[in-house]
């Protein structure tokens, strides 16, 4: 469990394999955009895996904050508070 002052970000197996990322990371609160930027410092390139060139959540990526779907919102507008849990998932798609 994350400490009360941190946000837990959980990453799926496919992203762990693709980008050699850990399964979970901790960051501070703020916004989703800020959290991703913070993670990017430790895991370079992670932000670009989740967000497209325009800073939007990629088409086939789902992001949930405390199980609430936020993928249709701009990451800079998604507030994160200490204790929140962010799940980043690969949406159902492929071939």
């Amino acid at each position: 469990m994350p400490g009360s002052s941190s946000v837990e970000v959980r990453l799926p197996r496919s992203l762990q394999l693709f980008w050699q990322a850990p399964g979970r990371m901790e960051t501070r609160g703020g916004t989703l955009a800020e959290a991703l930027a913070s993670l990017d410092e430790r895991q370079p390139g992670l932000t670009a895996r989740v967000l497209d060139d325009q800073g939007r959540i990629r088409e086939h990526v789902g992001v949930f904050v405390n199980r609430r779907d936020v993928r249709d919102r701009a990451p800079k507008d998604v507030a994160l508070n200490p204790g929140d849990v962010v799940d980043i998932i690969g949406a159902v798609s492929g071939g």
Partner: protein, 368 residues
């Protein structure tokens, strides 16, 4: 004495497969890199005979360009791959092609939707070539069946300011000022999707180049597998001339040039755009040695019955040996090699995922 190790890279729908051989008879491979992820193109950088560049396009996690200097054991994943400027409103969907440049540290990437990117620092950062990507006529570029992909990048080996690129289905573009401005090179091309008898004007959009290669002895001589025919463009020509001649069909995707011999090309004609498989279920690579005056069917060692397969635009490659090796990968997951310029073929691998690209190179001594 051991000879140099030849490496064949097969980019597939489910990862990159690397094969190596010292005699081009016995091939060894290893587990795929980026397993499960489409690799549209990969190439061994001829400048050092060591670096592999790969265009990796995750359905979920997006596109990027990665590099390895140890045959794929470890990959350098950049912080940011090719990325369109915010003002464009565009996002890179896939990287279709990677081309080592002529300057030190220079690498080029062709992307969908129709874009060219340059890195001057070995892929660490990328810049959009706005002279092409932000052309006012961009709104009229139409995607081909595979998407609006920039799939061919041909830098001039002796002039870094010159380059030819191809976008399906906008056309062929050339620059002679380092990418500041580009001119269309679409003249003379006809197509089944165009009114009968009508040839494109040089500066008109809308031809569908599937693959371009250049002549090994003269970088100004170009060859193109178009949606409707194979074409040649000589130095100084202001339009393309069709050289399909005795091929069974105008339609196909890949085109490869011999590493040394002028006018020697390899193509894989298909039934047609209405049925994108090899004719009659019999697989053959066709070769010309005279710039398309005559094409010869090469099929020894390739399946001649019930082979309902296709070869995609990056699916044929040659190596630098003498005699040249030729390699072809299929949509049904076979990889074939010829060590005698296409006369006889042997199976390197089968049951691969759909092969999207094949390239070949010779490892430098220090990389073996």
């Amino acid at each position: 004495m051991a000879t140099a190790k030849t490496v064949v890279l097969a980019g597939t729908r489910k990862g990159l497969f690397v094969y190596g051989s010292r005699d081009r008879r016995r091939w060894s491979g290893s587990a795929p890199s980026f397993a499960g992820v489409p690799v549209h193109h990969a190439v061994l950088d001829p400048r050092d005979g060591k670096t592999i560049w790969a265009a990796v396009n995750s359905m979920h996690w997006g596109p990027t360009v990665v590099r390895s200097t140890d045959l794929g054991k470890r990959w350098h994943r950049p912080k940011q791959g090719p990325t369109f400027p915010k003002a464009s409103g565009l996002s890179v969907a896939k990287v279709w092609h990677v081309a080592p440049g002529t300057r030190k540290g220079e690498v080029w990437a062709g992307v969908e939707p129709g874009g060219l990117f340059r890195s001057g620092d070995n892929g660490a950062t990328w810049e959009s070539v706005e002279g092409l990507n932000a052309r006012p006529d961009r709104t009229k570029w139409m995607p081909g069946g595979g998407g609006l992909c920039l799939h061919t990048i041909l830098p001039y080996p002796d002039d870094p300011d010159r380059m030819v690129v191809a976008i399906s289905a906008a056309g062929v573009f050339g620059t002679n000022n380092g990418g500041k401005s580009w001119r269309l090179m679409n003249g003379g091309v006809r197509g089944d999707f165009m009114p009968e008898g009508k040839a494109s004007k040089e500066d008109a959009l809308g031809i569908c180049p599937h693959k371009l290669v250049r002549d090994p002895t003269d970088p100004a001589v170009l060859f193109m597998q178009h949606h409707g025919g194979i074409y040649r463009r000589r130095r100084g020509d202001d339009e393309w001339t069709e050289i399909t001649r005795n091929l069974p069909s105008r339609f196909g995707f890949p085109l490869a040039a011999h590493p040394r011999d002028p006018g020697t090309l390899y193509a894989v004609p298909l039934e047609g755009d209405f049925n994108r498989v090899v004719p009659k279920g019999a697989f053959a690579v066709w070769r010309t040695r005279d710039s398309g005056k005559r094409w010869r069917r090469l099929a020894k060692g390739l399946p001649q019955e019930d082979a309902w397969l296709n070869v995609l635009r990056e699916g044929v490659a040659t190596d630098d040996h003498d005699p040249a090796g030729v390699y072809v990968g299929t949509t049904t997951g076979e990889l074939y090699a010829s060590r005698d310029e296409g006369e006889r073929w042997a199976t390197v691998a089968e049951h691969l995922p759909q092969v999207m690209s094949v390239s070949a190179g010779v490892l430098s001594g220090s990389a073996v």
